[in-house]
Amino acid sequence: SAYAKPEGYLTAKLLQADTTVPVVIKPAAADTSIKQKPDTASKALPTQDTSKPKQDTSAKSTPDSTKTTTAPKEDTALILPPDPATAKSEVGKFSLTGNVKDDKGTPIPGAVIRNKTTKTNAQSDPTGNYTIKAGVGDTILVTAPTFGEQTVPIEKRGALNFSMVPSSATKKVLGEVVVTALGIKKNPRSVGYAIQEVSGSAVQEAKEVNFVNALSGKVAGVQVSTNTGSMGGSSKITIRGVKSILGDNNAFFVLDGVPMMNSVTNQGGQLNGGGGYDYGSPLQDINPEDIENISVLKGAAATALYGSRGANGVMLVTTKKRPDSERGIGVTYSLNAQVDQVAVLPKYQNEYGGGAAGSFDTLYYNQHPEGFLNEQSATYDDNNGKGRYDLLPKYAVDESWGPKLDGRKVRPYWSWDKNKNNPFFGQTDTWSPHPNNVKDFYKTGFTLTNNISMAGSNDKGAFRLSYGNMDQSFVLPNATNKRNNLSVNGNYEITKGVRAVASVNYTSLRVKGRPGTGFTGPNPTLQFTMYGQRQLDIEQEKRYKYDDGSQITWNRKSWDNPGISSSNGPYWNRYMDYETDGRNRIYGYAGLDIDATKWLSFTGRVFMDDYNTLEEERTAQDYLPGTYIKRVRSSREMNYQVTADIKKNFGDDFQLNATVGGNVMHRLWTATGGFTNGGLIIKDIYNLNNSQQPATPIDEYYEKQINSVFATANLGYKNFLFLDLTGRNDWTSTLAKGNNRYFYPSASLSFVFSDLLKEWKWLSFGKVRGSLAAVGNDADPYHSFNTFNYVPPFNGNAIGQFNSTYNNPELKPERTTEVETGVELKFLDNRVGLDLTYYRRVTKDQIITLPTSAPSGYLGAYINGGSVENKGLEIGLNLNPIRLKGGFRWDINANIAFNRNKLLNLNVPQYNTSLPILTIGTDRRTQKVSVVAEVGEPLGTIRGTDYTYLNGQKVVDSAGHYIPSELKNIGNAYPDYVGGITNTFSYKGFYLSALVDFQHGGEFFSYTNLYGEKSGLLQSTVSNNIRETGLTVPGVTADGKPNTVNISAQDHFVYNGGNRISKANLYDASYIYLREAKLGYNLPESWYKKIGAQNVRVSLYGRNLWLIKSNAPNVDPSNILNSASNIQGIEGGALPSLRSYGINLNVSF
């Protein structure tokens, strides 16, 4: 396995003997950041197919794929980050000599030998010998017609011989390795399943705080959902659709072999549009600048070696291990500055202010002189003997069904509280619109990221140090997100054939002021979009407290009661009721690689991922008693792994690569802390001891272990036919003895048929592949035995409470089987590349919390049951329509993925029963809209009420209101297809790329629209003069006659809206988005030569630039995620999405 890529021990000399170096050229589409399955056509020997770090000092070694790179060919001008085109000029050139032969030892005359560093050329003579001026550190490129290119750095003086590999079908040879499960590197030819690689630059230039979000639209079959408005919020990453009805469906991340813990620990209500903070995915701790490459393993065959953990697909992240420059000590600095702006806000109405029924309250001086400065300060007098009075908006009403904003004088909420020395006491204000009062609340966010790395290597070893910091000031007031990353990795050859490797990464995250999500006070959209008063002046709202510290809110109870009716002011929320959180994380590995013989080697590794998270949530003591919640979460996962790797050739035609190994995974996680009860004693002090009544402790403990043995073998025939077999056996602690052992096999076949069709000149490359695999999943801990819950005692009496879910000692692992087949084709000199994959996956015996009828005693039971089928098609297309000699080049990289899933059955053998339908989650507020699994229907089916129809017409009741139907299926949360298209133009150091991603189909139920309309805030509540004239909804009465009842606009949204008829606020989630645009420039060497830099790259970028097409009003349908859970399709008051612009500077020395 290849957790570290040993650097520096490969010398040119060692290449001489029988080397057949698979030359690495980034494929044509490399600049689009995505490496489609590379089209290798080199007849690499088996030894090059594998991941084994090539410590072998014998002549068999081949360069690590990532090590040798070519400069851009002359007909391209691509920027290939990180790809310094030139090495330092050095004095001390010598005459390099050697010969060029083919793989049978026949000399090749006329081969071009180019010193890329000095930009000089030479040619081989008729006996294959050549001479060229060169120095240590220079890079030599050898090309010859009908043979693959080779690029080799010169490590020392001495002869350098090349053995050229014939290129297939006389085409240019492109060779590469891909990283597969357990970090095993393979020649892509030998891989019998879909695999896609993404280079680090995809997540480095156009940055996202969580690098995962930058993958959206870039990989076929990978769907990344997030909510950019939630600072550092959750990302849901699904590969090939959801498979598990109730379990986790997120991809598994492995970084340099370290399984990365990525559990989102949000509170329950956060998931279904309820309240809470979104603490986000711990994966965001990874420093994007350290990422070299991400390998996406999609199918079961690709992930079977990960056993139960790979069931949802695996993202293998490989970090940088070497200098960006090719030799010596290299230093790279990068600077990224980005501004964030709110991109999509709802369309608000600005004609009517807060209140109800279009009316003001009145306050007469004669009745309440204490409410006025003096009698004359009262604005109105109707001369009816009642005296002078003021008009009072209905402060306590958090809706905008109030009077028309006609400029009348009214007493605003901030004109009271004489006893608090309010300088504005008694003043009036005009009742007029403030159209930008929401927009102006959000500021421009700013994120600055610095990263510096240093790396070096020599004959014995290599190291890389990297330090990065990210400092984000968010679009919300008082919201910051800071991250520091420090990483060190290295390897060293202790003695011949024994290499030590280690890596340590430290991350510190400090966050303040995340917005609340869903239906919760600290979510700014709650009072701007779902409830609220439209006429408010945001400038006045900035004055959110009096000198005595008490709050001034627009939602006061009444003129003489400053208490809160239901909503704090927005600035009080930001500055007084805020959360903070932070995480310290350390992860990495240490181990040894030992080469026992030429064909056998061993590796041992210890992997660790350990973090502590502190979450603190505060509610200020004021009119409310105040609360403080503190949670300290600790998580640690250790993996101990040993493998033996075998590489052997049998004759010329057969090659075997095999690995056997074992792993012990141990995970321990806890949560401690507590929350105050009965309010705070002293205000503004947040400590669990500052609790009026004893704080309730939080104290949880979980532990889990999986022991595994695994083996894999890849058998190759003549480098065009490969059979790959894997097997893994897991023993898990979370299933009871007898059910806790399970085996995952896989088999895949790869056939590069183009090798047999060399006369088909138009075909550059062709491969078919197929695989079969079975993987599975175990349970979370502690679901086999029943325990009692802790409930605070009642007045000294302990309380016994059953767990609401019945634990089950008979649980078995859930099982997934998958069949996958695909074809990779390259045509017309690689101008057209096509990759097709079809898969069908069935996941059965799912471990689900079966909701059970409450009268049975429990609300649920852990059981095995249900089968889900996912089948789909993934298409990747690379086009290179223009490739001019002058250096201009246009590349198109497109991907699209169709996934269809279906719940095949919900059989529960243990209870000898089967269910027709299972509810995954129900929205918290209307309690009507559920995400369900129904037999015969796709997962993610949305159920709710519809209109009732008579002959196709909507039926109304006698009051002119629509009549809701029974609950029925009204939509599906998951799309029909998703994809992305990247266009890249490059010319002499410039490049311009644009990513458009899209989703077609899928629906969501929208609180933004439902409550925004019900509360009279959105533009739709005033359009067509409906407030003035009322409306008669189209429909018929039960006897078929047209509806003639005119109802008020408010009644319309109350009675005909989503509270009663879910369908009324169900929207299409399709979108087309200009997700990313980048303009990059490799500065000319002369510009930076003076400062000693080797490479300077500047790029400008934008993210989430333009929502080109959407059918959903008032929200960004690509930005509605509440959480990474399976409760999707319920938009619980989505935070506005952000648009970002940035500049990225990268300098290598």
Binding site: N707, P792, Q927
Partner: protein
């Protein structure tokens, strides 16, 4: 691998418990849900027309919030009744040990109380096949009259089992602190409650039971069954406003105007003056805020401070209710004494209860003057007793709602007391101005479909407008 197996046992949580812990849990969970604002407020006190919703007026128009309905059903079954069932099962292994008989009898009495609440709310409910989760997760629904008969038999049996010479619960019984005699009185009283509810459906049986048990029932406020909440989180009365003002409800004009018209001494306890005008103003029931005449919430009276007090007791069954049951029984010709006396006793008991609880001054003169305004009238017994029982049951929304639909009473003299929701009914099955039952929680349609379907048919259609067996008018 033994080590792996051990690892899956949570070392930090208990696998055993004690009957008294389960009892406290059952009592508290049941009271917490029956007096929660979402259940007692948005459902029961609406349907009893004590309160009307402020901004969420659609609940007053009978658009049921399914989450509140589900929580009621789930909590009573999976928590309260489950605990009681577990006590009985746990004790079955200790037969003959001291106190076990009394412990189980008390658990059975509480079980009868809660099953009746469920049966009166929904009609057919799972009963005989409940709490068999290891073998049966789809319990069938039983006929409510059969359940009544079984519960009556059970209560009768417990009266025989309860033995004051033995211990019961030394701790854990918040309602009666383990007092066996008190539980015995409650068992008799609950039999009266069941019997009077079936007075029109099965008059013979009602008469037989009431006559047999009325003398052993609760005879003063001190014997009432109630769960005394304490002012400590999370053990406060569920609908208290200590942490946050409760702005959801206003007292309905139905209650307010009737009490104000009689100068009812309980009015300042049942309601508080409006924020805006410091006056007692009721909110017309089921009124949309889109009506321009609808003022701000601050202009309407919220329920009284006592009703939102942290230490408000959760009432299981009070003495006034017993007196009103007996008044009705007498009025129906049962041999339980004088109807007028029971009626007067009921009013007095209620007055005394609120006087003592809220520590306000209500003199005997006040009470007598009040009774003089609402005298017992035999010919109008249903309205006279019904109205006063309704007032006395405040804030026990569920019992008041059941009595409202059962007796269909009006003001004494026959003027309508209740109103249809001012802005209309949103549930088209509700044709008589008030629901007769709650629909079954939605998830029963999927988790227990065959039995749900059978129950929906048996009950006469799973609709809020479907009359239950005890609704004969």
């Amino acid at each position: 691998c033994k080590k792996l197996d051990d690892m899956n046992r949570d070392p930090t949580r208990p696998t055993t418990t004690e009957p008294q812990y389960l009892l406290t849990g059952a009592q508290k969970s049941a009271m917490d849900i029956l007096y929660n604002g979402l259940q007692n407020g948005y459902i029961a006190s609406h349907y009893a027309q004590y309160w009307s919703g402020n901004s969420r007026f659609v609940d007053s128009q009978y658009q049921l919030d399914e989450g509140n309905n589900t929580a009621l059903w789930n909590t009573l079954y999976s928590y309260s009744l489950h605990n009681l069932d577990a006590i009985i099962k746990m004790n079955s292994t200790k037969a003959g040990q001291p106190g076990v008989g009394n412990q189980n009898a008390i658990a059975h009495i509480m079980r009868a109380w809660l099953f009746q609440v469920l049966a009166d709310t929904y009609g057919n409910i799972p009963y005989t096949q409940a709490f068999q989760n290891e073998t049966n997760i789809t319990p069938k629904y039983d006929d409510p009259q059969a359940i009544y008969n079984s519960l009556l038999d059970t209560l009768q049996a417990q009266i025989g089992i309860l033995d004051a010479s033995q211990t019961s619960y030394n701790t854990g019984d918040i309602i009666y602190n383990g007092n066996v005699d008190s539980w015995k009185r409650l068992a008799h009283s609950l039999m009266l409650r069941m019997a009077i509810r079936m007075a029109d459906a099965n008059p013979q049986k009602a008469k037989q039971i009431i006559e047999a048990h009325y003398q052993q029932a609760i005879t003063d406020n001190g014997q009432s069954a109630q769960f005394q909440y304490v002012d400590a989180v999370p053990n406060r009365y569920p609908q208290n406003d200590k942490d946050r003002p409760i702005i959801d409800f206003a007292v309905s004009t139905t209650l307010m105007d009737y009490m104000a018209g009689l100068d009812d001494p309980r009015l300042p306890i049942y309601a508080r003056p409006s924020d805006a005008e410091k006056k007692f103003v009721g909110l017309p029931y089921g009124w949309s805020t889109s009506d321009p005449a609808h003022k701000s919430d601050a202009f309407y009276s919220a329920p009284g401070k006592q009703i939102y007090s942290a230490t408000m007791p959760g009432i299981l069954m009070g003495y006034p209710e017993v007196e009103f049951i007996l008044a009705e029984a007498a009025a129906r010709g049962m041999n339980v004494g004088d109807a007028a006396t029971h009626y007067t006793n009921g009013i007095k008991a209620s007055m005394h209860y609120w006087r003592d609880l809220s520590k306000t001054t209500i003199t005997e003169e006040d009470i007598n003057a009040y009774i003089a305004k609402v005298p017992y009238t035999a010919a109008d017994w249903k309205n006279v007793i019904g109205t006063q029982k309704w007032l006395a049951l405040y804030p026990q929304g569920f019992q008041a709602w059941f009595e409202r639909t059962r007796l269909k009473f009006k003001k004494p003299g026959g003027q309508p007391l209740f109103m249809a929701p001012k802005s209309g009914v949103l549930d088209l099955s509700v044709k008589d101005g008030v629901p007769y039952r709650l629909t079954y929680p939605i998830q029963e349609q999927t988790q227990n479909k065959a039995n749900y379907d059978a129950a929906a048919t048996a009950v006469g259609g799973d609709l809020k407008g479907t009359k239950l067996w005890y609704n004969k008018f």
